[in-house]
Amino acid sequence: MSVPATSSAPGSAFWHRMRILAAIIVSLFFLFPIYWMVLTSFKQQVEIFTNPPTFFFTPTLATYKEYIARADIVRRLVNTVIVATGSGLLSIVVGTMAGYALARIRLRGAGTIGLLILLSRGVPPIALAVPMFLVARKFGLTDKHITLILAYSTFLIPYVMWLMRSFFLSLPKELEESAMIDGCSRYGAFFKIILPISLPGLLSTLIFSMILAWEELLFALVLTNRHASTIPVAIAGIAGDTVNGANWGALTAVGTITVVPVVIFALLVQKWLIKGLADGATKG
């Protein structure tokens, strides 16, 4: 698996070592902030505000204990899980079917619909947030999980649809053709033949959709206030809380709680995730 463009660098052995060194330095830059956040979350308040900053200290769970109880973090965490799972599942089901339709089924006008949906990925969420808030208020739908789930589907369905469309296009047509000649219905071919071999692609798309829903802020800020409020809203509140000064203990603790499960999740499926990302960018 050599990459010709880069492996034939000038002077080989020395340059090879220099590039490995560069790779390590670059990744340290990208990983250090997260390391620093997690580290800070285990510090005592007095250790956070020291100059020079401390790297070695006795770790404590004090911040976690204090803020998990006070800032209503558990409920917001549960809300975030509900909304991310709900919108991820809704979008994967609906978006995969649409992606299949656009890839394989002849439909009059489907090309235009597909183009419109692709363009919808460029709609700035703020243009939707104002009317969504007004409509939700009118129908008494603010601060409900279902409202956020549906709001998130506006950006997740187009994402899933285009990713799965390119995935289906990469499958050989003979798969469904022979199944349908053998008397399988269109749904039969889709569920029995196509979906099983698409599982890796489906899983990575689902997980990335859930991550996108997990970290969304604007709709959550606008459409919820107490009952269905999510973790990013809490973090925005802590980060913007300038009245009490910089509350870095809370910020790093809640930030770590938000990031760690997603990172573990992402690392577990990283192979599929990278492939899905690359396909999404280069094909859709």
Partner: protein
């Protein structure tokens, strides 16, 4: 195009098989009715794949957009919380005359003009640089996922702490090399630089991953031919690899553009638009106008202007990106 003929063939086979079976059992009149019913069922089954998403997106996307349009041409009644009287272009005229609107558009443009080329260039540069063959390459690639799964609001808050003028570790290190401490969030230019650094930190790994995948997908024989012709590393890079990568670079630029026009969370957590209005990107400005000042009609007009601007530019970029155009 090829898929269309394929699915037509599938549909044709499907239809022919069943129609044949039907006409064996019934008379010619019944066969026609059966065929018609079958054609209808087939049409329904075909559209049923696309219908659910069209329904959800119409309700959640098309309806809000039309409602935004309506509000933008109306006065807004705060008592009933809905669009009141039709006022024509009044809201648009007011918005266009508001210097704060133009300021926030300018801030957004500065951010886009610096951040996007920087991220694409850095991403592809790093991919070229680090793509050496060694045992740690796979691990690094996996770790590079982490910055982009960090929620933007977390990234904003986290970097605010790192860049803090008094206690931040970045300023401590900058001080060690004689640069600082810098008042990142008190100075207009530095605050914009901070926002761009945070955004670049979050997104460059994503571009590195795409660039790496694109590099791996390049045809190897071209490079072998270049090597045989005696081309050195640089000329191979510039005259062979880069031209082959242009479509992917363009596609990456479009993807980042689509993400960057939504810029909101990072500024909210890191600078809240400040100092002054130095980092007040258009999305934050509209948000503030709508939900703090309760000027819904004016913010709807702004949202419509931003929507049209974004759509026009996205259309132009999509057109410019050959790789994406293959889809249509």
């Amino acid at each position: 195009m090829t898929t269309d003929t394929a699915s037509r063939r599938i549909a044709g086979n499907d239809g022919a098989g069943n129609d044949g079976a039907g006409s064996d059992r019934t008379g010619s009149d019944g066969a026609a009715r059966h065929a018609r019913r079958h054609a209808l069922a087939d049409l329904l089954s075909r559209w049923s794949f696309l219908m659910p998403s069209m329904l959800v997106l119409t309700v959640m996307l098309a309806y809000p957009i039309f409602y935004t349009l309506e509000i933008s041409f109306s006065s807004f009644d705060l008592a009933s919380f809905s669009a009141d009287q039709w006022v024509g272009w009044d809201n648009y005229r007011e918005v266009m005359g508001d210097y704060r609107f133009w300021e926030s558009l300018k801030v957004t443009l500065i951010y886009l003009a610096i951040a996007l080329p920087l991220q694409v260039a850095l991403g592809f540069g790093i991919a070229f640089l680090i793509n050496a063959e060694w045992w740690g390459r796979g691990i690094l690639r996996a770790l590079f996922i982490i910055p982009m799964v960090v929620a933007p609001v977390v990234a904003g808050g986290m970097w605010r702490m790192i860049l803090d003028p008094l206690w931040g570790i970045a300023n401590y290190w900058l001080g060690l090399v004689g640069l600082g401490p810098l008042d990142w969030f008190g100075d207009a230019n530095l605050a914009m630089a901070a926002v761009i650094i945070i955004d670049t930190w979050r997104w460059t790994p994503f571009i590195v991953l795409i660039a790496t995948a694109a590099l791996l997908a390049l045809p190897k024989d071209v490079f072998e031919a270049a090597k045989i012709d005696g081309a050195n590393w640089w000329s191979t890079l510039w005259s062979v690899a880069v031209p082959l990568l242009v479509p992917v670079i363009a596609a990456t630029f479009v993807i980042r553009w689509l993400g960057a026009v939504k810029m909101f969370d990072i500024v909210l957590a890191a600078t809240y638009g400040g100092p002054g209005k130095a980092t007040n990107v258009i999305n934050l400005f509209i948000y503030e106008e709508a939900f703090r000042s309760l000027r819904f009609a004016e913010s709807a007009a702004m949202a419509v202007i931003v929507l049209i601007l974004t759509m026009v530019l996205t259309g132009i970029f999509l057109r410019g990106s050959r790789k994406l155009e293959e889809l249509f």
